[in-house]
Symmetry: D2
Subunit: 343 residues, 4 copies
């Protein structure tokens, strides 16, 4: 950590700060320039915040050199984390590794709907079934999901198809219902619900964490760090679009996050093109971009009858469009030494 | 609600949509133009989402005419909501009504610190004490607050000073600890933690809801609506700065939200200048702006020794600066027929 | 255009507005609902602004149904516009059409540098040479480009390699220098410099217009409309990243803009991955995404010695990396029935 | 300037960089930590860009310590700049200094309209008349202003009322028409039109520079620096709202910019509440906030018949509302030791 002091800082103020830091176990390098004096801190700075220094009025600026996430950092864990879940393998294990494809309806609406869609996405090559039982809706008057009953239907679909399931947990009080769930999803609006992260981190299951609507990549990794500090090893990072000044798409897909995160962390990174654009006709195009930038998987909303969907029909693919997309994406994956479909 | 159909929509598609809507109890006005056909829906559209229409590929655009919040809307409840809490009255009851001033440290750190600050802010004219026991920190390695012990200290400070207390609830599992707390705060990061909102809405206490970092004013009111639909009547809306492209301030204070919300809702609206700018020297200036635009109150961080604060020292005022600010703000309030200090 | 009036608008106010609009030649459809009265305007609304209606206090909201751009709209001109320039063809003419590849240094620095890079990018398959002579720099103290001398060197490079050239025009007073320039570039900071657009629109040359840092897609198309209304037929739209709350990349590549614009306009759309991310190691990844989403071309910064570059060295590819990228991109293009390299 | 190198940078790379910098006249302080090596540069770094260092792959990060603006910096020029213009004085000269009030219609529409409004705003206490002759409109089909004829009418209004005038210049080719204009306005969309800034900087007149829609405060000051480096001494900085994710107001007034800029620069800072919110009913509220935060002036749109205005009628005040506002603002100014109205 580098602390820049203002030009005319009084020597005793410097001394006091330095001795406080030395008491906490840091070594301090002092460098005096014309415009500023610079303190370099050596030691484990992950417990320090930049802001705490700024409460001293003689501190001009603070810059963190090493990252404040450790467990999530590739520097700490150079090899890719590989998450196994049913037949699915999430993360790049080796050349020719399959991408993870997670598909299913936005919300679980009925047994028939879910099984129909589950069979369809399985046939098309998806390895994991998604479906919302607890739904975070902007309006309290919108359909809030089937709740516990929805989880039961997901478990039935899992049994019927053999597909592992991922579904969103919105409150730790629902955790007992999630026994048979394979991957716990934490939604974008809960990315900084730290109490939930701490509890889910202790659940011993893979977690799919969606990036918050206006979360920086560093805040995203700090939320991963909450999960990992609580015990999680298997965290899947999911980019689902961010909020910007324009609204021609539901959100703005920040595609650059994939290479950046893959450099910075050892964890798999996937893209959810459905929520990113919010328009079914654009989903296949963005899915291709996701594969082209090397995402470790995609998560796509599929519905057997989009106009009748209780949620997100406007961004759901029909099973036919999805199956066609899978064949196209497989060719894209091949260009990067990976594949989407089993041989 | 107004639904614009694409120019060449087939008549049978229109018929199907119209009869589906009529079955749900809406009256439909059809207006045919050269460029588009427009359906006007009459009835309670608060359960409909704009998006659901867009799953039909012949729908061009959807526009909501009436607001989707009801309980929070001034149209529904024309008179100002007045919240009483100890000696404090939050909301504009009558001419010369006092503004609510909430002050205290970012986090509760010790009995001595809290009582010292509580006495100081009371002496300066604050009517409500703030202090965090459970702290949402970006890093899991930062100080997370004193937890249950912090709540106990807040209750002790309440007893010692007679000031009602407001403190943040991050998980519904902590609710039992909040028995003696006067106002429950929901933080910006939990503004769309809908499960928490539903539970807190049933707690029978005033709620101070902070606007999310990237929440539109409509989303903000929809989160209020979650609280009110669950039972809350007394909700205080708090603007604390939003996230934009610039970072010279910690957040960007969106001062215009005060007149807009006061027009749209009957609930009191307050400003937190400390989190908005993140720099103690700027807090008094923004507090004046808050009073000038007619905010119903302010919430300010005060610490007896900012450089030693465990959290947010850089944005905390000393008791002296705070006391001086209160006297200045009182003169600003007088220009709008209100006051800050008791006579 | 649809104008929603407030619930209790006085009949005479409605009458006045309607007769004013009828005088301007519009037909008005009136539809009365419980919550609002709606006026539907039929006629050429492109000269009306939404805001002008809002100056009447009884107008609740205004919604444009048809787009306010005409010449740029695909509705007006269904076939793809194809721009020919030297051997380059920009736009999708037919299956197997080549993508346009524009490459070269950020700024022209010397004859040797420019010819070296021009030969290298030509050999790798680029069809158009880029290079800045007039540079828009944030600081007046940074290198501002070689100016007229830089244009001369570009013309020399054009002669030496046969590659057509594109370079940025910042002021209409420079236009005489651009006689031999094949494509005039208007930079992101000048996207709404309307006087410049009007003049350049009369220049009779293809124009490459970069999207502004915080321009909506509609504003982008309105700036295109300025060019076309002034006479331009051949406009190339270039996405180069937008400004958001995060800064881990120089800008945020808004990849979704490609399919959206290609649906909305007949003009070619290209991506500049160099400015989008600002880091050379990420450029190839984003270039793949550009091809995967169907962009009609890419514009890439290439420098023979990036650390010594006077501008943007950190985002410039070396000729070797660029040549390797071209071979990879050719395989991506093939998946969409296009190609990058000549047979 | 501080340059952080990656942990395992090869010694010869460090040596090469250091000797290159020493050749350019910088003194280099090297500080070696566990995590990084840090170079501190002493000398005039205003010609260096942070990015140029990043083209070396062993550079981790670069931080500027001193600001890159000099002429605009208060460090360089500690006293407030005071701009005199007719009877108006812009900038805080002394206690009880008047705030500058600039008022008038969005666009000049006719002699009668302009003289009427000019007389009204003068009577209400405004010291400077505004009015647009050249209008930057999003659509080429919207009213573009009266042009040269509009300037003539402004000069006539100046003669009739004695008020100095400010009006927007969009192209340097119009400069001859601006002979009698007192203050040249550069609009938000041209804030980074550097060629225009350079030319206007040589015009020898005060310049009112509006902050760009998505310009950081540092970019804003760098554009001021362009003007000053070209010769301007008298620059007025105008905040008129920025672009964010929300659109309930036309733009988002960033009120915090006033204290920040006043600390950082010696130049006067004013607020344009009309463009910030875009709704006439909110303008007076934001104007109070502007005075409360210590702005050196305000710029307000006033029209004698807002619903008939050719531009921005929805945000224009009537003369009566404006006159009432002036009386209120005078009381706000008094609280900060200033005044709005002459005694």
């Amino acid at each position: 950590m580098i602390v820049v002091l203002k030009p005319n800082t009084r020597p005793d103020a410097v001394e006091t700060l330095v001795s406080q830091l030395e008491e906490k176990g840091f070594k301090i390098h002092i460098s005096r320039g014309e415009e500023a004096m610079v303190l370099g801190l050596v030691g484990d700075t992950s417990r320090l915040t930049e802001e705490s220094f700024l409460a001293n009025d003689f501190v001009e600026r603070v810059m963190r050199v090493s990252s404040s996430y450790k467990l999530a950092s590739r520097a700490f864990h150079p090899d890719n984390t590989i998450i196994r879940c049913g037949n699915a393998v999430i993360g790049r294990e080796a050349n020719n590794a399959r991408l993870a494809v997670i598909a299913g309806p936005c919300s679980v609406e009925s047994r028939e709907q879910l099984i129909t869609v589950a069979n369809a996405v399985k046939a098309a090559g998806a390895q994991i079934l998604r479906g919302g039982a607890f739904k975070p809706r902007t309006s309290p008057y919108s359909f809030q999901g089937m709740g516990a009953e929805g989880i039961k239907l997901l478990l039935a679909a899992k049994e019927a198809t053999g597909l592992p399931i991922v579904t969103e947990l919105m409150s730790i009080n629902q955790i007992d219902l999630f026994d048979g769930v394979d991957i716990i999803q934490i939604g974008a609006r809960n990315m900084q619900n730290y109490d939930l992260l701490k509890e889910v981190g202790m659940a011993g299951k893979p977690v799919l964490l969606k990036r918050g609507l206006s979360s920086t990549v560093k805040e995203f990794l700090m939320s991963v760090e909450y999960l990992m500090a609580a015990g999680s090893r298997d965290v899947i990072l999911c980019e689902r679009g961010i909020r910007t000044f324009d609204s021609y798409t539901r959100n703005t897909l920040d595609i650059s996050v994939v290479p950046w995160l893959q450099k910075e962390t050892h964890l798999p990174v996937i893209i959810d093109p459905s929520h990113a654009c919010g328009m079914s006709w654009m989903v296949p195009t963005l899915a291709k971009a996701a594969v082209a930038v090397g995402a470790d998987g995609i998560m796509v909303e599929v519905h057997n009858n989009p106009p009748a969907a209780l949620c997100d029909g406007e961004q759901s693919l029909t099973p036919d469009v999805f199956a066609d997309l899978m064949r196209q994406l497989d060719r894209y994956a091949a260009l990067e030494g990976r594949k989407l479909l089993s041989a």
